[in-house]
């Protein structure tokens, strides 16, 4: 090949030193806005590089991580010899806390901050679509929570080993945590695309997070008042006022000794007392709690049976299992058998005592108590084993995520029709 072309194929003349490298960007059509894989990964790369923290930032993160790691070390050290899931759950809460604190703060200054610095418009001019910019910024801010997860993974793994959780369960709960952080990062991003000033958007982002984490609990508390019903009840009492002193003494003796045989039922008159007690139908408003993202996360945790946890290879019910119990209690509402009010009839009781040939035996009493306790335990088991309900929280989370990103992408699309009030494009 080398000999066949003596003169014709000289290498193309090198361009003159001043001529810049030729480039051929692909042509564009229409006004696309959907995110693309290349665009999103480039945008994420740009954001991660340019938002590398400053020295002060590193100090802040350092302090934060020192605190978190101290807590985690404590959790790891105080892991008791037997299985215990609480320590593992504390580490999971730390991951969630760090993510929820930092990621939305970062995203909440991402768009209005860039626009103020004048670096947003040049990106919008490029081939990056609104979707690329939005999703890239979302992922870049969210990555912080992934870093937190990675940084805390030694503790996570160590405490996991003695937590009685299965691997798949851990992965699902971690997935739920990352999803919640992603959602609230998107909410922060949405605020930063709406508000002109960073202070406002950061405050609004944290307020939104606060509303879903704490506000839902408050709203639940308040709304229980709406589902509280009054149930009338009629009790009967022995009327001590109309009793002869002798009869009273006899009655007191009988209560002391448990021997009612000497009493005459006719000596005692009865009075009716009508009053109202309240029943709170929490099952009607429990869904408010289910919208809480933290509750959604605990609802992804495995169910721990309070009776059989040892045979099941679980740890004793920990934080998440207790939250699940409280929540299930609310979801089931009041139990008529257990908590429902049984009218108290002192007279009937007395008559029964008198007419009973024999006294109530201790065995009978114990049997009765045992029955009550068995009922109570059955209820506890029912509550603890109630099917997990993360779906509503999951739906809310996904809805918030999609809604926020929809707002962000719409706000980033150019040509602008309306500008964020009080801002310029450039």
């Amino acid at each position: 090949m080398t000999t066949t072309a003596p003169t014709g194929t000289q290498p193309p003349a090198a361009p003159p030193a001043s001529a810049p490298t030729p480039v051929a960007p692909p042509p564009r059509k229409g006004n696309p806005w959907l995110p693309t894989f290349r665009g999103v990964s480039l945008m994420t790369r740009i954001e991660l590089r340019r938002r590398r923290p400053s020295t002060k930032g590193y100090i802040f993160y350092g302090i934060l991580f020192a605190i978190v790691i101290a807590i985690c070390i404590a959790a790891a050290i105080f892991t008791p010899a037997q299985l215990s899931s609480t320590n593992f759950e504390i580490v999971l809460i730390m991951v969630l806390g760090v993510g929820m604190l930092i990621a939305p703060s970062l995203s909440a200054t991402s768009i209005n901050g860039d626009s103020g610095e004048g670096v947003l418009a040049p990106l919008q001019m490029s081939h990056l679509t609104a979707g690329d910019i939005a999703v890239g910024k979302l992922l870049a801010s969210w990555t912080v929570s992934v870093f937190a997860l990675v940084a805390l993974s030694p503790f996570l793994i160590y405490t996991y080993l003695s937590s009685g959780w299965r691997l798949g369960e851990m992965l699902i709960t971690i997935g739920a945590i990352l999803l919640v952080v992603l959602t609230f990062t998107a909410v922060g991003l949405a605020w930063s695309s709406i508000a002109a000033r960073a202070v406002a958007s950061v405050a609004l982002a944290h307020l939104t997070t606060g509303f879903f984490l704490i506000g839902t609990i408050i709203v639940f508390g308040v709304s229980t008042l709406l589902v509280t019903e009054e149930a009338p009840d009629r009790d009967r009492y022995i009327d001590y006022g109309q009793m002869t002193p002798a009869a009273e003494d006899a009655l007191n003796d009988a209560y002391m000794t448990g021997d009612f045989s000497a009493l005459n039922a006719d000596d005692y008159t009865c009075i009716d007392s009508e009053w109202a007690y309240t029943v709170t139908h929490t099952e009607k408003v429990a869904w408010i709690l289910l919208m809480n993202p933290a509750v959604m996360i605990t609802e992804t945790a495995p169910i721990v049976d309070p009776e059989t946890w040892e045979e099941d290879g679980r740890a004793a019910p920990g934080v998440f299992a207790n939250v699940h119990q409280l929540l299930s209690e609310a979801r089931l509402g009041p139990d008529d058998e257990l908590t429902g009010y049984e009218p108290w009839d002192e007279c009937a009781d007395l008559e029964r005592q008198i007419s009973a040939a024999a006294q109530v035996s201790d065995e009978d009493m114990e049997a009765e108590w045992a029955e009550t306790e068995a009922d109570w335990e059955a209820r506890q088991r029912e509550v603890a084993n109630l099917e997990r309900a993360p779906w509503l929280g999951l739906g809310v989370s996904v809805l918030l995520l999609v809604g926020s990103m929809w707002i962000v992408i719409n706000r980033l699309r150019v040509p602008y029709k309306k500008l964020r009030s009080g801002t310029r494009v450039a």
């Binding site: 960007p25 229409g30 004048g118 040049p122 919008q124 081939h127 150019v414 040509p415 494009v425």
Partner: protein, 313 residues
């Protein structure tokens, strides 16, 4: 310039805008702007502060939707084909913005990648562009240490990463030192020589005089069109003649019915071109007028600007 094989495909009228308007709430930033910028030429956009130059450029660049009017850039309509319009435009905003943490070269490379240029190519082009704007020694320095003028030049380089056919430069000379201004002038002429259409706004009119082919004046959101063009053409014919004895000059001009504006130092006369100017000078000397200074009055754009009914917002 060399005959460039990779020059953007020639589009005769790179920018055409007719009756463009845009308001922000109650502020009518641009009310009626009409302009054309042919490929391979430099057009100036001139007007007082707040007359709507930046707003007009934003609409041309496909970042802002006009309320009314039609725009075509490089053959595309920004209201239907905004991405194509943006892709064909190199925009240098008047607001300086740079990624503080990134070096100049990283900035240009990432920007090139944002235009879907392969990374190696984008980087090579970044190196070339930094050389072109004389920032090579800052290639590896973070953008936050750059001075204002250096940032301005980085911004110019950034506008060129994707080799656009149309350049919108919003006050590019802002903050540049005298040498950089002259270099900018040469650069802008080179861009036009490469076949690009350049629309440049600036407040330094004396500078524009030397680099623009055409000028568009704006006032209170309106382009002034033909009136202003006529005024510029008229201003270009004005010559200033300084004589030791202005009286003698005035008499000589009056004797031959040459229209002139009498001045303390001499007179202002209208002369169509350089040949006629040479003849006129010879004739004046012949008439015994002691001419000690003879030349164009000064910046034609500046004169037109000053003659325009002056308003500021």
């Amino acid at each position: 310039m060399t005959a460039t094989a990779q020059a953007p495909a020639p589009v005769r009228e790179a920018i055409v805008a007719t009756g463009v308007a845009r308001s922000f709430g109650s502020v009518h930033a641009v009310q009626d702007a009409t302009l054309t910028v042919p490929a391979g030429s430099v057009t100036a956009l001139i007007g007082p502060n707040g007359c709507g130059k930046t707003t007009l450029m934003l609409m041309l660049s496909g970042l802002l939707r006009p309320d009314a009017g039609t725009i075509t850039v490089a053959g595309h309509n920004p209201s239907t084909d905004a991405a194509a319009v943006r892709a064909s435009i190199g925009w240098m905003p008047d607001q300086l913005g740079s990624w503080d943490n990134l070096t100049c070269l990283q900035t240009l490379t990432l920007m090139g990648e944002a235009y879907r240029i392969p990374r190696a190519t984008a980087r090579a082009r970044g190196v070339d562009l930094l050389a072109r704007v004389h920032l090579s020694e800052f290639a590896e320095r973070p953008a936050r240490v750059l001075s204002r003028g250096q940032k301005q030049r980085l911004s110019l380089a950034r506008a060129l990463v994707h080799d656009p056919g149309v350049l919108l430069l919003d006050e590019p000379a802002n903050g540049l030192d005298p040498r950089s201004r002259i270099e900018l002038r040469t650069l802008v002429r080179e861009f036009a020589g490469e076949g690009r259409a350049v629309l440049v706004s600036s407040h330094v009119l004396a500078e524009l005089d030397e680099m623009v082919d055409d000028a568009i004046f704006m006032s209170q959101g309106r382009t002034l069109g033909d009136d202003a063009a006529a005024m510029v053409a008229d201003a270009k014919t004005k010559y200033r003649v300084d004589a030791l004895e202005p009286q003698v000059l005035h008499e000589a001009l009056a004797a031959y019915n040459v229209p002139f504006e009498a001045q303390e130092y001499g007179a202002i006369v209208r002369i169509d071109d350089a040949h006629k100017a040479a003849q006129a000078l010879a004739w004046l000397v012949q008439q015994g007028v002691a001419v000690h200074r003879f030349g164009p009055v000064g910046s034609a754009l500046e004169q037109t600007y000053m003659a325009m009914n002056e308003e500021r917002r």
